[in-house]
Point group: C2
Chain length 327, copies 2
Amino acid sequence: MAAALYFVGLDVGGTTMKAAVVDGNGKTFPSVALRTNPERGQDAGIDTMGETIRQAIAAAKLTLADIAAIGVATPGLMDIHAGLILDPPNLKPWKNVPVRDRIAALFGKPTAFQNDANAAAFGEKWTGAGRGAHSMVMFTLGTGVGGGIIVGDAIIEGKHSHGGELGHLRIDRPDCGRLCGCGARGCLEAYASATAVTCRAREEMASWRGSTTLKQFYTANDDDLTAKVIFDLARAGDACATKVVDDTAYCLALGACAAIAAIDPEVIVFGGGVTDAGEWFRAKIDADVRRFGLPFPVESVRIVFAELGSDAGFIGAAACAKLLVPR
Amino acid sequence: MAAALYFVGLDVGGTTMKAAVVDGNGKTFPSVALRTNPERGQDAGIDTMGETIRQAIAAAKLTLADIAAIGVATPGLMDIHAGLILDPPNLKPWKNVPVRDRIAALFGKPTAFQNDANAAAFGEKWTGAGRGAHSMVMFTLGTGVGGGIIVGDAIIEGKHSHGGELGHLRIDRPDCGRLCGCGARGCLEAYASATAVTCRAREEMASWRGSTTLKQFYTANDDDLTAKVIFDLARAGDACATKVVDDTAYCLALGACAAIAAIDPEVIVFGGGVTDAGEWFRAKIDADVRRFGLPFPVESVRIVFAELGSDAGFIGAAACAKLLVPR
C-alpha cells in the first residue's frame, strides 16, 4: 500500500471561497470558508486563496508536507489550459490572473486549475451522485445555469474553456424565445435559472384566471418572490405555481435531451437550489426526459439530484489535483 | 524507427462495404468495395466482410502478416463496447451479430469496432478536415443526419452507443416542430436531412408567390426533386430554392450552436452530400453560427466541410484499429 495521499481543493466564488483537504479515496476533512472580497483586487484575492488553503490544511490537522497537490476552481471567463482567470463577472475587477502558477509558486505543489461548474460535476462524479458512472452530465441551477460534462476521467473543457456551458443549450427558437444574458434567445438559462423561474411566475400569475397565492407577490411584495416560494407553493397545491414548476421541469428535461443526443451519458445530475425541491420535482423532470428524449438511451439513463451541495466544487477541485499525481 | 504498421479499415453500409489498408501515418492504399447484400443474412455478411478485408490487403500488395490490427465500422443500432451489431435498420435482417469477435477470430488480429458516423468523424480528425485539432464535432448529412464527437483521442461513444447522435439535437419545439423518424418533434434531422430538405422545398414552393423553377417539380416530376436540384437552383439564383437553402444553413447552424454549448470544439465539420455545394453554402452556415452561437467560442471556432468523402469511414475504422496497438 502506498502512503495515503492528501489533496487540497479550493472553490472560489464571488462571495466566499471554500476549501478542504480530501484524501485519495474522496474522504473529505472539515472545510473552511473565507470571504472573497473581489473588490480588494486580485493580489489580495491570491493572498486569501493562500490563507484559505492553509486553514484547510490546519483544519485537517495536517501540514503542507502531507499535501500531494492542490486544485483551484474559479468561475469563468477563464483559460483553463493556461491556468488563467480572464475577466469573470463575479470576480470584478480581477483580470488575467495566472491563478495556477501563483498558487503553485506559493505552496511549491503541483496545482490544477478548473472551471467551478466543471469542478462541481467532477466532484459529484467522484464521490457524489455520479459515482461509479462512466459518463455524467451535470446541470447546476442557480442565478444562472451552468454545467459540466465528464466522460471517464476527462472533463470536457472545450477549446475556449466553454465546454459544458449547458445553460446555453437552446430549448426554444432563437427568433422568438426568451432573451438570455448571453445576448441570444431561447437558451435554457433564460427559462430555468432562479431569476427566469420568478420571471415566468410573474407572467403566469398576471394572466392567471382563478385563485393563486402567488398573486400576493404581484404588487407590494414583488421583490420577495423567489424560486423557492414558487416551488413551496406548487408543492402545497397552488395551481399557478404548479404550472410554473411543471414548465421548469419541462425546460430542464429538454436540456437533458440535448445532452443525451450529444453525449448519451450514464447519468444526468441536477444540482443547485432546485435539489431542495426533492423527489417530487426530480420525477417531473424524469418523466419529461423519457417522453421527449432519444428512445434507446432514455430507457435507462438515470436522472438524479446532486448530493454534495456546495462542497462539490472543492471536492472536484481536489479530484483535479489528484489527476496530477501518478497513481 | 519502428517498422511501419499497417491497419485495415472496413466501413459496412447497407448497400456496399468499403475497405482499405491505412498505414500508421494515415496514408491510404487503394480501396475496394463489395456489395453488402444484407438480405443474404449475417453469416454471409461476415464472409463478405472477410473477403473485403482480404481484397484490401491484396490491393495494398501486402499480406495478412503485415497487418497489425483491423477496424470495422457499421451503422447502428449497436453495442460498441460489446462489439455487437444489435438491430440496424440498414442491415436487416441482421440481429445481434458479434462482429468484433468474429472478425478477430477470422483473421487472428486485434479488432476494433465502431459506429460508422463516429468512425467517419474519427477519420476526418486523423487525416481530413479535423486534422491537428484537439476536439472536433462532425455532422454527417444524408438520408438522415448523423454525427460524431472526438475529444483528443477519444470518441464520445455514449453509455448506450448513442453518443454523437447529433441529428436528434432539437432545433425547434417538441410540441410544434417537424416530426422526426425517431418519433419526436423538432430534431435537426427533421429539417436538414436530404429528405427533409426536399420536403421543405415542396412546402415552400406550394406557397411561393412569384416565379420559381422549383414549381416544375410540383406535379409531374415530383419524384425527381432532390436536395441536389434545390441546391443547384439556389446557386443559379432561384429565390425560392435560395430560401430553402438559407433555412437549411440556419438549421445546421443551430445544431452547431448546441454542439458549441456542450463541447466547445475547435472545429465543426459538415460532411455528406451537402459538401458538394461548396464554399457558398459553408459561408451561410458559418455566418449563422457566428450570429446565434455562444459569443466567446464563436469568435474562433472553425466551420469546415469534410475532406475525405466516403473514405472517411474506413479511414476512421483504421484509426480505431491503430488505437489498439501500443505505440
